[in-house]
């Protein structure tokens, strides 16, 4: 474990030596700094989710509207590519930090307890609530993300018939049909709903946790923040699940 | 009878008017120049208010300090458990307080058995203490507008007590601890936690070092320095059951006493009136409920004997608010010794409450009706919580049951005005010395004295010693060091070698019970004479039958306790001898033969207006009594009245 840690911390250590970047990296090489970066990247990804959901809601507006939106997006060209690189980097950072801080925490415990119980109230999820499921839900989300990119971006899911969406004669893909093709197979529906539920759980702790890490905590607003975080998490999840249900039910 | 030394002790109190003694003395003392301070080293044993403050302040001045505590961290010292507050003569409440009034109250509270000049100095520096602590970030309670709050405390008619909820001792200690840790970070103080002092090293009549046992590893270590400061607290655990921390002990002080330091007034023990009563024979300690509770709680017992009704079933007309009855002007805020004895008197008369009949009620009904539960909760929430934890009773709904318990010891190693014992270079601070509280300490004065000694007395007085004394360099292999280390080693070997049948705790309990019954809240000649014999027998049995398992080379808590109890066994006898010698009642020392017709303590100024400082004699011989006559130039001792 220690060796693994050393390897993982190598890039960070090298970066602290870069002039200009050094002090910044020093801050981020502490546990608190890392958590702050974790929070910032997490919240950025939440921003992406909102935009993504917002765009996808166009599905309800019908084939034409959605395809127009998709084509407009794709026509951004280099801007879109840059955004995608940024998005990828944010994901990578978030995941990398998750792995390194979790590894560090395992080392910090050294030896596990024979019995460990929570002292907090009752949780819907066992084992002390969503905060103790972040790694598992994170891994599920990552797996889902890979599937999702294969399905939607690369259109490489062998179980899906993309023929209605990609037509040799057509210059432009019909994204509306592609989405529908992917989401309407029962297996995919299950995969998507599982992934989205994992996302909901992840965010139900993640949003509030990120705010706390950024120092946003005030007795007067805490209840609001807590409810707001959970509403956001399940609002986003419900939005995406709604699309899956829509696709399953869509006739035409 | 008692062997009395021919010459009296010199307290080295400076001449001049009382108000100017300290200032004049500050000027008269020799200074160590700043660049020379780094050439001197000082050992400070104990990290409570006195020891922590001393080590930090000496480090700040530039001395090389070594700080020792037996706990795992300096922050655990038992000063932390002080609840109520700390006195100072700030007169922020504009209620007529002054340095002189604080001085007068403290001297009177101590039943005129303290040294005038020391008490006055204490009152003088009290204000600096508050300032210092505030600057350190101690979160004293404050008013809405931001000024410091005060509350009143036993034995005073002004509000001069500063407090941090019910955790004043904790906050003051953490302030001192943080100052100490700051010096540790600068390297001026070296910290040695989990070390217990076992011997004092004396070279050419000067205290020059200590032998400690590293409690984590069992190793004995010798540390040398140019002076030794002892701030090791009181000896209340000689009674086994007390409000003291389990680890509090007399060993460091007693080891010094065995090496010639005089032990003064050991019979002055304070029994605190408001503690949670004993429930069973497994009981390991007693828990104090802060005296501040008496600001709002009313003490009572049923008027009729053996009334076993639930408290809320007893109408007001059948309640005896005995403190208010006997002491109308101070009422529930009568000083500790007086309140304790009044509780004992009621219980002895058959009015006690609870299963054992050894308790009285402390009732918040009226305060809750007057101010509301929220106000009471804000003031005392943590104390009520603690009471509820221990007894499973809710003090918001039913009165607390309280009973007196050993809480503080006014006696300690004898020191002069500079806080130096008769062994040159050995300074004694805080509860470990005898100097400021006379025969009874007022509430919220212990914290004041500890911090006064540590922050504002020792930094100056130790310089005078270092500047004026020829101090040869000595190393760990000095014959005196080697001898001290060997003595410590031999004792451990001897303790481990007994291999008897009884545990250390069983002996300690037995000793405690003897002391509580014969030398506790009330004492008399025949009981004391009897108990001295019993202590000797028990001690003899101890060395024949104690069982200490394991080895001396590891963490061994039985061995730690065994050494402490062995010293308590010797010290207890001295305590009883002192109590027997003092044929008067004063403060916490109550001799049944000497009381007024109303049952109040009858002091005998003609014969006992002196400090009794005892010199240990080896081989079981009787100790020798040295007297320091108490001179009252400014306040005429009167009969203490709180009526």
């Amino acid at each position: 474990m220690n060796a693994l840690l050393r390897i993982l911390s190598l890039p960070a250590q090298l970066l602290t030596k870069v002039p200009g970047l050094g002090p910044f990296m020093k801050v981020l090489s502490t546990t608190v700094g890392q958590k702050i970066l974790m929070a910032i990247t997490g919240l950025s990804l939440c921003g992406f989710l909102v935009a993504h959901l917002g765009g996808n809601l166009k599905l309800y507006a019908g084939e034409q509207a959605f395809n127009d939106y998709a084509h407009a997006l794709h026509s951004l060209g280099p801007i879109l590519a840059a955004a995608e690189v940024g998005l990828f980097a944010t994901f990578a950072l978030h995941i990398g930090l998750a792995i390194s801080t979790t590894a560090l925490s395992k080392v910090a415990r050294r030896k596990d307890y024979a019995i460990k119980e929570t002292k907090q109230g009752i949780f819907i999820l066992p084992n002390g609530g969503a905060s103790n499921w972040m790694m598992l839900t994170g891994v599920l989300i990552l797996a889902f993300l890979v599937t999702h990119i294969l399905d939607m971006k690369l259109k490489a899911n062998p179980g899906v018939d993309y023929s209605v969406a990609t037509n040799a004669e057509k210059v432009i893909d019909n994204e509306f049909h592609a989405v529908k093709a992917v989401l309407s197979t029962p297996l995919n529906a299950v995969i998507y709903i599982t992934g989205i539920v994992a996302l909901g759980i992840h965010l139900s702790h993640g949003v509030r946790s990120a705010l706390q890490t950024l120092g946003i905590n005030h007795k007067r607003w805490n209840l609001l923040l807590k409810i707001g975080g959970i509403l956001f998490a399940w609002g986003v999840a419900a939005g995406f699940i709604g699309l899956v249900v829509w696709a399953m039910a869509y006739k035409g | 009878m008692v062997r009395v030394a021919s010459d009296t002790l010199n307290s080295r109190v400076p001449d001049g008017p009382l108000q100017q003694k300290w200032d004049k003395h500050l000027f008269d003392m020799k200074l160590v120049n700043p660049s020379n301070k780094r050439k001197f080293s000082v050992i400070v044993v104990g990290t409570g208010l006195a020891g922590g403050a001393a080590a930090a302040s000496l480090g700040e001045l530039g001395y090389n300090v070594k700080s020792f505590c037996f706990q795992d961290s300096p922050r655990r010292a038992h000063s932390i458990a002080a609840q109520g507050g700390i006195n100072a003569a700030k007169n922020y409440q504009n209620d007529g307080d002054s340095v002189w009034r604080l001085f007068y109250d403290t001297l009177k509270g101590g039943d005129y058995r303290a040294r005038e000049a020391n008490v006055h100095r204490l009152a003088q520096v009290s204000n600096n203490i508050i300032d210092q602590c505030v600057a350190q970030g101690v979160p004293f309670a404050r008013e809405y507008g931001g000024t410091l709050s005060n509350r009143s405390f036993g034995g005073a008619q002004v509000s001069r007590t500063f407090y941090c909820r019910g955790q004043t001792g904790q906050q003051l200690l953490l302030g001192a601890y943080q100052a100490l840790m700051r010096q540790v970070s600068t390297g001026k103080v070296k910290l040695f936690a989990r070390r217990e002092m076992l011997e004092l090293v004396i070279v050419d009549g000067l205290a020059r070092g200590i032998v400690v046992r590293n409690l984590a590893t069992g190793q004995l270590e010798t540390h040398t320095a140019d002076a030794v400061v002892l701030a090791t607290g009181g000896y209340g655990n000689v009674y086994y059951l007390s409000t003291m921390a389990k680890g509090s002990n007399v060993t460091a002080a007693w080891r010094c006493a065995r090496k010639g330091a005089l032990f003064a007034n050991p019979c002055y023990t304070q029994i605190h009136p408001t503690c949670i009563p004993v429930t069973g024979d497994y009981q390991s300690k007693l828990t104090l409920m802060s005296e501040s509770l008496r600001n709002d709680g009313r003490v009572w017992v049923p008027s009729s004997k053996g009334d076993k009704r639930a408290p809320d079933q007893i109408p007001d007309t059948e309640r005896d608010y005995y403190l208010e009855r006997r002491y109308p002007s101070y009422g529930n805020l009568a000083p500790r010794d007086i309140s304790s004895r009044a509780a004992k008197e009621r219980c002895d008369a058959g009015h006690g409450v609870g299963e054992t009949g050894l308790a009285v009620f402390l009732d918040f009904r009226d305060a809750i009706q007057r101010d509301g539960e929220d106000v009471v909760r804000k003031k005392y929430g943590n104390l009520f919580h603690m009471y509820n934890k221990i007894t499973a009773e809710d003090p918001y709904k039913q009165p607390m049951r309280i009973f007196p318990a050993v809480h503080y010891t006014m006696g300690g190693l004898w020191v002069d005005y500079n806080l130096m014992s008769n062994v040159k270079g050995l300074y004694v601070l805080g509860e470990a010395n005898f100097s400021d509280h006379g025969a009874n300490r007022l509430g919220a004065s212990a914290l004041m004295q500890g911090l006064s000694d540590g922050y504002f007395v020792i930094p100056y007085t130790i310089g005078d010693h270092l500047a004026t004394t020829k101090l040869e360099k000595i190393a760990d292999d000095h014959p005196a060091c080697l001898q001290a280390k060997k003595d410590a080693e031999d004792r451990i070997t001897k303790l481990m070698g007994v291999q008897g049948k009884r545990s250390v705790d069983s002996f300690h309990r037995e000793l405690g019970l003897l002391m509580w019954e014969k030398c506790g809240m009330a004492r008399n000649r025949s009981g004391l004479e009897q108990v001295i014999g019993q202590i000797r027998d028990l001690r003899e049995q101890y060395w024949k039958d104690v069982r200490v398992l394991g080895s001396g080379d590891t963490l061994n808590q039985s061995l730690e306790k065994a050494g402490r109890v062995a010293d308590f066994m010797e010290f207890a006898e001295l305590l009883a001898i002192d109590a027997l010698n003092r044929e008067e009642s004063c403060g916490g020392h109550f001799r049944e033969e000497y009381q007024t017709s109303e049952g109040e303590a009858a002091r005998n100024d003609a014969d006992y207006s002196y400090v009794a400082a005892w010199e240990f004699q080896s081989g079981g011989a009787e100790p020798i009594l040295h007297k320091e006559p108490l001179v009252f130039e400014n306040v005429k001792p009167s009969t203490r009245s709180y009526k």
């Binding site: 050294r110 706390q212 950024l214 | 700051r182």
Partner: protein
Amino acid sequence: MSTHLLNLNLRVWRQAGPNDQGGFKTYRLNGVSTHMSFLEMLDVLNEQLIAQKEEPVAFDHDCREGICGMCSLMINGQAHGPDNATTTCQLHMRRFKDGDTVTIEPWRAAAFPVLRDLVVDRSAFDRIISAGGFVSVNTGNAPDGNAILVPGVRQEVAMDGAACIGCGACVAACKNASAMLFVSAKVSQLAILPQGHPERNARVINMVAQMDKEGFGSCTNTSECEAACPAEVSVAHIARLNREYLRASIFAET
């Protein structure tokens, strides 16, 4: 309050020294009064062990009134046992039932190595305080206590943090063995009080650096520390530490 007697099975971690492997040993203890504190119950166990010529169980304790922070113990997987806002010394046996098996372990963290049985070394906390948990004011150079006004309500928040007893339950209970609650309690207290302001930037940076150096884990905001804290220190102090840290990282002069 009536007395009951319990018969218990105690599963206690025994470890001869820092380098020993250690393991559980089970003891039967009969006739435990419900009025006993948990530590008094261990006293009784130790008396029984001594009578059987077995070395007593080593455990840290001192004041036994819940303020010194020396007692510890993981009791059935909970730091300081099942009660909230309670130290082990204030935990009473009335919380247990006849026939219960009670598992007792030491605090477990790389930064708190076991010295023997249930005793751990918490000097890492001292080193963290030493890194900046103080106000640099030498004895004697303080202004009058009322010179700087601090609103009562604000001072109360500082006191909430200052109430920390340094027992280490937060570290023990945290799945990451993070010391954030402990560190933040001090950072927060001194960040709220004006007396702590001159050093606030360096304080938070240095204390966090020392915390990391000691090998504590990072905070994932599970709030388990707050639930385990006998002094009821809130995770709001952790948020304040985070704010202080951000502030210091961005605005500090050096």
